[in-house]
Amino acid sequence: MARDATRRRVLTAAAAVLPLVAAGCKGIAALGTPPKAAPDVTVATDAVAVETQLIARYQAVLAANPTLAPALRPLLGQHHEHLTRLHARLIVPAGGQPLPTPRATAHRTAQVPGTPAAALGYLRDAEDAASGALLAHLATAPPSLAQLLASISASEATHALILGTAARHS
């Protein structure tokens, strides 16, 4: 099925094992049916999109407000760590659809506020929203992915706290 082709491109290790198990029962013909993306692929891909958008927003704010770099760099670095660990949950075959990158989504980022206090508030709101969005699939994610999402969500809640404090003092 051609419409399944894109879904085949991103597989988790868990999903990749399934056709082998099926093949053991039904013979080689079972390999003809591509596996559907496992739920955790959707969850991890959504989380990657959330992180990617946050990183793009940080980059846009840093471009408009370079003086905020000392305050924002540590937080941005932690988002890169989040993204790295989420990417580790996905196996993307060569030639497949690339996952979104911060550069690719940067042009879609809305105009960022010009004053430091407003920019910090803008990022605080983005962190709050991301923290909530990461928990949207908490109930359906596999246990270890659920723990990773809860941890990253908590990290982003602390980012919002630090940004809110910085905004009040700027």
């Binding site: 540590p74 937080l75 670095g77 932690q78 760590e81 989040h82 660990r85 923290s131 928990l135 908490l138 109930a139 246990p143 270890s144 659920a146 723990q147 990773l148 809860a150 941890s151 990253i152 969500s153 908590a154 990290s155 809640a157 602390t158 980012h159 706290l161 630090i162």
Partner: protein, 173 residues
């Protein structure tokens, strides 16, 4: 669900044990803090007592005997001044996050959501004390570390055993 019960009870007991430690530790730390930091410590101390009671009730509802608090806990380093007190409560919050993350690994969606809220609360407390953030609260917990001697307050003689990087148990009582 035959396996969910014991796993849930074990994870709840872990969280309760961490709350018991936190109630004890905040009691020790609060004595070395003043002003706004003391007020925050008292607020969190009460919050952890409430969390302890909640977990106790959740375990009782599952027919389990809640793990009892110890009379005295061995602290990871000597707590004789405000700097060490802040380091201690930061560590306690980090460990609470790790304990509650165990609930997020269960199959029960309600316990997952409960655990995620508690991981968030512990991370927020830890970040407030630490004045910085972690990338993976609950997952990557920093090792216990006594504060640098230079950051200690005045008028509070450090005991000889309090070399940083070499945590010592506190004197009970």
């Amino acid at each position: 669900m035959t396996a969910a019960g014991p796993a849930a009870v074990a994870a709840l007991q872990q969280a309760l044990a961490a709350e018991n430690s936190a109630v004890y530790g905040y009691g020790v730390a609060g004595a070395h803090l003043t002003g706004a930091r003391r007020a925050a410590a008292v607020r969190n101390w009460v919050g952890h007592q409430n969390a302890r009671d909640t977990l106790t009730a959740m375990l009782a509802a599952r027919g389990a005997q809640p793990v009892a608090a110890a009379a005295v806990y061995q602290l990871p380093f000597g707590v004789h001044n405000a700097g060490a007190a802040v380091a201690l409560v930061t560590l306690l919050e980090d460990r609470l996050g790790a304990a509650y993350l165990g609930l997020v690994g269960l199959g029960d969606p309600a316990l997952r959501a409960f655990g995620a809220r508690a991981v968030r609360a512990a991370a927020l407390h830890a970040a407030t004390w630490r004045r910085s953030t972690l990338a993976f609260p609950g997952l990557d917990v920093p090792a216990p570390r006594a504060p640098e001697p230079a950051s200690q307050g005045t008028g509070s003689p450090a005991p000889s055993g309090q070399a940083h990087g070499n945590p010592t148990p506190s004197h009970p009582g």
